[in-house]
């Protein structure tokens, strides 16, 4: 009897969860506001250095310029502050190994440490 009660409760719980997911109310894990309300300014920010801009456009922009997948948006200090508090070493670890929605190397196959650092610094400050 107890087993059946647990089973019934878990069915209800998981049905609710899946229904919620499929109804399009899925939030993202870090509580950032969804991409549809991202400020246009994130999309317009671009590094001054043309080489860095090229790396940023081809690797980082599609998520960090738009907020897709819960990525902290370029120039959005409130989203970047908790990340920067973890320290650059940790952020580099996350970039290289992948982290949540971010794939390993942040999709930049030829970036070195200096370039990753410059990209992270650009995105956290927007300049």
């Amino acid at each position: 009897m107890r087993t059946l009660q647990i089973a019934a409760t878990s069915t209800l719980l998981l049905t609710t969860l899946l229904f919620t997911a499929c109804s399009g109310e899925s939030g993202n894990s870090n509580g950032a506001s969804p991409a549809t309300t991202s400020k246009p300014s994130s999309k317009k920010m671009m590094p001054d250095d043309p080489d860095l801009a090229s790396l940023y456009t081809q690797s980082c922009f599609s998520c960090h310029g738009t907020g897709a997948g819960g990525a902290p948006r370029t120039g959005n200090s409130s989203e970047w502050q908790p990340r920067m508090e973890k320290g650059m070493d940790t952020l580099l670890d996350h970039t290289i190994d992948g982290f949540q929605g971010m794939p390993p190397l942040g999709m930049c196959m030829d970036c070195d440490e200096a370039q990753f650092t410059a990209l992270i610094e650009f995105m956290s400050s927007g300049s």
């Binding site: 089973a7 878990s10 069915t11 998981l14 049905t15 969860l17 899946l18 229904f19 997911a21 499929c22 399009g24 899925s26 969804p34 991409a35 090229s54 790396l55 081809q58 599609s62 897709a68 997948g69 580099l92 290289i96 190994d97 992948g98 949540q100 929605g101 794939p103 390993p104 190397l105 999709m107 196959m109 030829d110 970036c111 070195d112 440490e113 200096a114 990753f116």
Partner: protein, 452 residues
């Protein structure tokens, strides 16, 4: 053979500099390893190269003292990239330009998710696309990447010309009328003939698609599979493991108003299936009831959008994948075997199993060479060991002369592959001619081609 005008090189003035700056050794400080999207493939390359021009690229290949492997977006699950030599990015070959008559010239490093909107604005559309758009165009085409559709070939079917830079330092224009044998070999060539820098694609006028998704019983789907494939422009299905259901996805041309897909629920659905697997793994009967019941609650959906917004799905849950391409007539029987295997021997599988259809083509190493095909793909959560599961499933495909997706995991070697591909010897003759020293061969490709 034509050489590009050397004056076009951005690094024209410091002629010797490109070799020094492009071949960037690991910097002091943190050595950046390489890994693929899933984290399943790793390497510690001694160099990372990103040539800015074809001439620079030709010099790098010609003067290579170790292996050079081209890297696209790192999305392949198979070890096509790992090397202790150098990995080479085609990042600077990144332009998209309209040519005449619905053709476009696309740089090898352009990612699929950076191709749709520009093409659309040029008044062109790709005939078909896969459901992941993170890959570079060269990586996708070189591995035989495809969408689904009974009357649509894989993406490389729509290539009319390409430019290949070879390990001998040549820059070759290839098409059906120019270097035709290299063209037939290079369209699907795993980065083994050199480095492709651009493609000329044959496109269509932009179109809107109506995408419908719904759940239906798996048994019913077996019976309707070929009818569904033939009566829709694009059709694919997913078997939901340990349930009685299949998810059907169809797209067809439409003139209806756009009603977009909105935020993708796919990732959450996969996570829920993982939770169901973990939570109810102690009672398989109940889990089957629960997964079936839950999948029964999924409402049919319908969306309309322009082509480049409809095809791709967001894949934030990382996984490893194996996909085999089978003669289309054998797909239902193969799927039944896979389902039975999963149900009886793999209780911990939760990722939906994907089945698609692809038209035949004539690229020598195309997995769809000479036969209308269907593809069957299994996935494993990236943190879980895929080998036992994939080994079991892979054995089902061998009696059917299955051909693995080149960018996905498989264990086939040169001996078996030679039997599956009628033009295998022709391909290797071209390969040995263009790359006599084996510059492009890492350990995986040595196994695939049998190069000693």
């Amino acid at each position: 053979m034509k050489r590009r005008d050397f004056n076009r090189s951005l690094l024209m003035a410091p002629v010797l500099a490109p070799l020094a700056t492009a071949a960037r050794k690991v910097q002091a400080g943190r050595a950046i390893p390489w890994q693929n999207w899933s984290g399943g493939q790793h390497a510690s390359p001694s160099g990372r190269l990103s040539p800015k021009t074809e001439d620079e690229l030709a010099q790098l290949l010609k003067n290579a003292s170790s292996v050079i492997r081209p890297v696209g977006a790192g999305h392949s699950f198979s070890p096509l990239v790992p090397t202790e030599g150098s990995i080479l990015s085609t990042r600077y070959f990144n332009t998209v330009a309209a040519s005449d008559d619905l053709r476009a010239v696309v740089g090898a490093g352009v990612k699929l998710n950076q191709l749709g909107e520009p093409l659309h604005k040029l008044g062109q559309a790709l005939p078909n696309m896969p459901d992941i758009d993170e890959q570079t165009i060269a990586g996708a085409l070189s591995t035989g990447t495809h969408g689904t559709g009974a009357n649509f070939g894989a993406m490389h079917s729509y290539v009319e010309a390409l430019r290949l830079v070879t390990p001998r330092g040549e820059i070759l224009n290839c098409s059906r009328s120019e270097n035709p044998e290299v063209f037939d070999a290079a369209r699907v060539s795993l980065g083994a003939l050199g480095v492709i820098t651009q493609y000329t694609l044959r496109n269509m006028v932009p179109y809107k698609l109506k995408r419908k998704t719904w759940m239906q019983p798996l048994q019913q789907t077996y019976e309707e599979f070929h009818t569904l494939a033939e009566s829709h422009r694009n059709f694919e299905m997913y078997y939901i493991p340990h349930s009685e259901n299949a998810l059907i996805i169809t797209t067809d041309l439409t003139d209806d108003e756009v009603s977009p897909r909105g935020e993708d629920g796919d990732n959450d659905a996969v996570r829920e299936l993982q939770m169901l697997r973990d939570y109810a793994s102690w009672w398989p009967w109940l889990r089957k009831r629960m997964i079936t019941a839950v999948s029964n609650t999924i409402e049919p959906e319908e969306h309309v959008d322009w082509w480049w917004n409809i095809y791709p799905s967001d894949r934030a849950v990382r996984f490893n994948e194996m996909e085999y391409h089978l003669p289309r007539g054998d797909i239902v029987a193969a799927l039944k075997q896979v389902v039975e295997t999963v149900e009886t021997r793999n209780p911990d599988v939760f990722f939906p199993i994907e089945v698609r259809v692809v038209q035949e083509d004539d690229a020598w190493l195309s997995p769809f060479y000479g036969r209308p095909s269907a593809s069957l793909a299994v996935h494993r959560y990236f943190e879980e060991d895929y080998q036992p599961y994939f080994n079991t499933i892979e054995s089902i495909y061998q009696p059917l002369a299955g051909r693995p997706h080149w960018g996905k995991l498989h264990t086939l070697d040169a001996k078996t592959l030679a039997e599956r591909y009628p033009r295998w010897q022709d391909f290797n003759e071209v390969r040995r001619e263009l790359d006599p020293k084996g510059v492009m061969l890492n350990a995986h490709l040595k196994k695939v081609f049998g190069h000693a």
